[in-house]
């Protein structure tokens, strides 16, 4: 029991990301309303962003900015600073996510103008006719 507890609590960041990921996937696949699908998509992307951000963290580490970095040539202790690379990668992923959201919402608006609804089953009925 204690092992299981440690297994879950010790990796809580991964569990949080996985749960969010599954919520997002469920929303994208199972929801009938297209706007809810877009919300699911956003949750899905946010889960991956959180996953990446959490892997850059280290215990007791600070932000990766050097005091008086220029001119001094002393050794830098990497363990004292959080890994900035995953965070930088996620800046790009956030931009990608926002653009995807923008395109999805624009197309959703067009769908509403053409079909008069954003419920998937009602749209499929209008296409069959």
């Amino acid at each position: 029991m204690e092992d299981l507890f440690n297994y879950i609590i010790g990796r809580y960041n991964y569990w949080a990301a996985i749960i969010l990921l599954l919520i997002g996937l469920y929303g994208m696949i199972a929801k009938n309303n297209l706007l809810k699908k877009v919300i699911g998509m956003t949750i899905f992307q946010a889960a991956i962003i959180l996953f990446y951000v959490s892997i850059g963290d280290k215990r007791g580490a600070t932000i990766p900015i050097l005091d008086h970095g220029h001119g001094t040539h002393q050794a830098i202790e990497a363990a004292a600073y959080a890994n900035p690379l995953p965070h930088v990668l996620m800046l790009t992923a956030i931009v990608v996510g926002v653009s995807t959201l923008g395109v999805a919402l624009a197309i959703l608006q067009k769908i509403y103008r053409v079909h008069g609804t954003i419920e998937e089953d009602e749209i499929l009925e209008t296409i069959d006719q």
Binding site: F44, I48, I55, V96, V103, A104, I107, I127
Partner: protein, 504 residues
């Protein structure tokens, strides 16, 4: 312009082209068109220069280009080896031809937002070329998304029902890209690098070879890419999205998007993971090849059931993706050669057929099988081009379609995977039925009042405009040229693109 800069010019030309078109393309409708063609021509000539450079030093290893002169662990590099030099040339060439072809169709289909359309066109090509050239696994994700976002907007240009079809694609495409990104995260945790070559160097260590995280990363990346390339049974989004859109978009997106995804799959299998990892540690070969055989059969049967020409071609794409995935997973040199060669030949064949169908629709305004009626009399050149594309799809020598099937079949036989061989032969047979039915419809004249009155000879020849005919003719000629030069392409380039341990 020194020779080393060609690698970056390939990507920069369409990217800057997109910027210029969005800034000044609105001035006159011709400015946008000419800028696009010029940018893609520069890009294409750079791919030719790179291809000849790579071919000259094929045995020595790939060309490296460091962006901003930052060395690999810190900076992003472009790596051009025989494999992606070929794909780059195909992508740049096909997109240049489609750009020339698009003059009349875009003017008819999106007259009010011509320069927006061309901006997206250039961005899509820049994204696809970047995906192919990059040597950095996260950079690949970003460029995939650039290409995907541009393609969403382009596919939605079909209006009407195209919006809903595109929306489905956005959802599926995002799931695919996010799976890929998650897989990259696992790889980064385990290796601490994003450079493909460096990652591969780590991958030979026994601790990583049998690590669960690496296994999950491989599965996530593969599933993500299979969604992106519409591999059966994840292909549901493709037929609708590609059918409902405008002529130009389907001519551009259909030949390129899926093929580039297949290239990425091959690159990840052998350039990030290793050959023993993909073939032996995962132990998926038989299952994936069976799935590919199912994809081929399902795509072919789906194509038979269609009465819409474009929709029929989209189902053929689903079958063709099965060819390439199956070939890559057969686990022998002939199969992988067939898969790589088929990326090139299928890009040309699909472009040729979509452009011919687009030209027929452009003149007749119809997209059903009946649009073909009397086409050999009314549009003899377009019909001849369609025949070349159709024969290549069936796999008749000396078209390139024959040679890719030849390699795939011999790979299937060498691997002893007879299910795949049967699926390939079945699909050739179905393609023969499909295209000969169309040729037959095309030979009969229109049943209208005039022909009943006995005026058979007075059929008016109404060909597509020259700006459409010339690129189609070049594509059809390339199908034959690539077919005739098969042995040189295979022995000069593809043989060096195979991972160590596989030899023809």
């Amino acid at each position: 312009m020194s020779l080393e800069q060609h690698a970056i010019i390939i990507i920069l030309a369409p990217l800057l082209g997109a910027l210029v078109i969005s800034l000044i393309g609105g001035l006159h409708r011709r400015v946008a068109y000419l800028t696009l063609v010029a940018a893609l021509a520069v890009s294409f000539s750079s791919t030719i220069a790179t291809l000849s450079q790579v071919a000259a030093r094929a045995a020595e290893g790939p060309l490296h280009y460091f962006l901003g002169d930052w060395q690999p662990p810190y900076g992003i590099e472009l790596v051009i080896d025989p494999l992606n030099a070929l794909v780059l040339t195909m992508v740049a060439g096909v997109s240049l031809l489609v750009a020339i072809y698009s003059k009349e169709t875009v003017r008819r289909e999106s007259p009010d937002r011509l320069h927006h359309y061309y901006t997206l066109f250039a961005l899509l090509v820049a994204g696809l070329l970047g995906i192919t050239a990059t040597g950095d696994i996260f950079n690949l994700y970003v460029l995939t998304e650039i290409a995907a976002l541009a393609s969403y907007a382009l596919l939605a240009s079909g209006r009407g029902f195209a919006y809903y079809a595109t929306f489905k694609y956005i959802i599926m495409g995002t799931i695919g890209a996010c799976f890929y990104l998650l897989g990259v995260g696992y790889l980064y945790i385990k290796t601490g690098t994003l450079n493909m070559a460096e990652m591969q160097a780590f991958m030979t260590r026994p601790a990583l070879l049998h690590s669960e995280s690496i296994r999950v990363a491989f599965i996530l990346i593969m599933v993500g890419l299979w969604i992106k390339m519409a591999f059966f049974p994840l292909h549901g989004w493709l037929p609708n999205a590609y059918t409902r859109t405008s002529t130009t978009t389907s001519c551009l997106v259909a030949p390129l998007m899926t093929k580039v995804s297949v290239y990425v799959m091959i690159r990840v299998m052998f350039g990030v993971f290793t050959l023993p990892y993909a073939y032996h540690v995962m132990g998926w070969n038989t299952a994936v090849v069976w799935l590919a055989s199912l994809a081929i059969v399902a795509g072919s049967i789906g194509a038979l059931a269609q009465t819409n020409l474009k929709r029929m071609l989209t189902y053929i794409i689903v079958a063709e993706v099965g060819y390439m995935v199956g070939g890559a997973w057969l686990g022998n040199a002939a199969g992988l050669t067939g898969a790589i060669y088929h990326i090139i030949s299928d890009g040309l064949m699909t472009a040729c057929l979509f452009m011919a169908v687009g030209a027929i629709t452009f003149k007749t305004g119809e997209i059903n099988l009946e649009a073909m009626r009397g086409v050999f009399r009314r549009m003899p050149v377009t019909a001849a081009i369609f025949v070349v594309g159709g024969l290549a799809m069936i796999g008749i020598p000396p078209t390139c379609g024959f040679f890719s099937k030849w390699y795939l079949l011999s790979g299937g036989l060498a691997a002893g995977h007879y299910g795949f061989v049967v699926a390939l032969l079945f699909s050739s047979l179905v393609n023969a039925v499909l295209f000969f039915r169309l040729f037959e419809i095309g030979y009969y004249p229109l049943f209208d009042a005039q022909s009943e009155a006995g005026q058979h000879d007075k059929v008016v020849v109404a060909e597509a405009p020259l700006s459409m005919l010339v690129p189609m003719l070049i594509t059809a000629a390339m199908i034959l040229v690539v077919g005739l030069y098969t042995s040189r392409i295979v022995s000069g380039l593809i043989e060096y693109a195979l991972p160590a341990g596989l030899k023809l």
